[in-house]
C-alpha cells in the first residue's frame, strides 16, 4: 500500500551488490527517487537508495566506511550523478565510476573544502560568522 510517509524500512545491502541491484531495479522499470546519506558518527555512513514504482517505494540501506570508495550507480541511473556528487561534497565520500565527477566542486568552493573536510559530518560544527 503506497503511503506518503512511512517509518523507514530499508533492506540492508552490501557494497558489492549495489550496482547489480540498481541494474535489476532499472530493468524492472523502477525510478531512482534519490539517495540519502547519514553520518553514523562511528566512522560509517548509511547510504539509502530510494526507488519507486507506481508510487510504491523500496529502500536499501548500505552501511559503509566513510573513507572507502562507494560503487557508483550513475552508469546505470544517470540521474544518480547529481546526488552522488552532492554526497561527495557533503560527506567527502568517494564514488567509483561516477560518470561526471565534479570532485567536490558541485556546490563547494576552496574556501569551504580547505577549511572543513566535510560539512555534513556529525562532529563538524557549523562555522559561525560574525
Amino acid at each position: 500500500m503506497p503511503t506518503h510517509s512511512e517509518i523507514l524500512n530499508a533492506t540492508p545491502i552490501a557494497a558489492d551488490a549495489v550496482v547489480a541491484q540498481a541494474r535489476s531495479m532499472f530493468d524492472q522499470g523502477y525510478r531512482l527517487v534519490t539517495m540519502s546519506v547519514v553520518d553514523l558518527g562511528d566512522g560509517n555512513v548509511d547510504i539509502f537508495y530510494h526507488y519507486d514504482l507506481d508510487n510504491e517505494m523500496t529502500h536499501f540501506r548500505l552501511t559503509h566506511p566513510k573513507d572507502q570508495p562507494v560503487p557508483s550507480i550513475s552508469p546505470v541511473y544517470f540521474a544518480a550523478l547529481l546526488v552522488e556528487n552532492e554526497s561527495r561534497d557533503h560527506f567527502n565520500l568517494k564514488f567509483d565510476g561516477l560518470v561526471l565527477d565534479f570532485n567536490r566542486t558541485l556546490y563547494l568552493d576552496d574556501e569551504i573544502t580547505s577549511t572543513i573536510s566535510a560539512p555534513f559530518c556529525k562532529i563538524s560544527t557549523i562555522q559561525k560568522k560574525d
Binding site: Y107, L108, E111, I112, P119, I126, K129
Partner: protein
C-alpha cells in the same frame, strides 16, 4: 554645461534601470522583485526597467544570502556596472544572511562584499517594500549628487 548637467541629473533620478542578481535567495524575494515589474505594481512608472545586464544598469537589486561561490559573481557584476550606481539589498537574506546566516556556506549579507545603499527588510520583502526601497535609493542618489538630504533612518516610529 549647467543646463545639460541638470537634465542629466533629472534623467538619473527618473530612469533607474535595474539589474537583479539572485545570490542564494530562496526565491521568495526573487519572485517579489519580479512581481514589481508586473501590472499590479508596474515599477516602469518610475522609469524602472529590468535590463538584466549589469553594463546597462544603474541599480543592482540583490536578493538572498551571499555564499562563497556567488560572492565572486556579485563582485563581478558590481564591477561591471558603470558609475554612478547604487545597490539595494533585499530581504533578510540580502541584508544580513537572514535565517541562513549561520550556515557553513553562507558569508552573510550583501554588504560583506560590496557597498550597499539601501537595506530592505522582510522575508520576503513585499513589492511595496521593494518600491519603497527604490524610492529610498533614489533619495540616496539625490543626496550623493548634492541635491537633497540623506533619507533618515527610522528605528522606531
Amino acid at each position: 554645461m549647467g543646463l545639460l548637467e541638470n537634465w542629466i541629473n533629472k534623467g538619473r533620478l527618473k530612469s533607474p534601470w535595474v539589474v537583479h542578481f539572485d545570490c542564494g535567495s530562496c526565491n521568495g524575494c526573487d519572485i517579489e522583485v519580479l512581481a514589481c515589474l508586473t501590472p499590479v505594481f508596474d515599477v516602469e512608472r518610475f522609469g524602472i526597467i529590468n535590463v538584466g545586464n549589469p553594463k546597462h544598469a544603474d541599480v543592482l537589486l540583490v536578493t538572498g544570502t551571499v555564499n562563497h561561490r556567488n560572492k565572486k559573481v556579485l563582485k563581478n557584476i558590481y564591477d561591471q556596472m558603470p558609475d554612478p550606481k547604487a545597490v539595494i539589498a533585499i530581504g533578510a537574506c540580502g541584508t544580513s544572511g537572514g535565517v541562513f546566516r549561520e550556515c557553513y556556506n553562507v558569508v552573510g549579507g550583501v554588504d560583506q562584499v560590496i557597498p550597499v545603499d539601501v537595506y530592505v527588510p522582510g522575508c520576503p520583502a513585499k513589492p511595496d517594500a521593494i518600491i519603497d526601497g527604490v524610492v529610498t535609493a533614489l533619495d540616496v542618489v539625490k543626496a550623493k549628487l548634492g541635491l537633497g538630504e540623506m533619507p533618515k533612518v527610522t528605528v522606531i516610529d
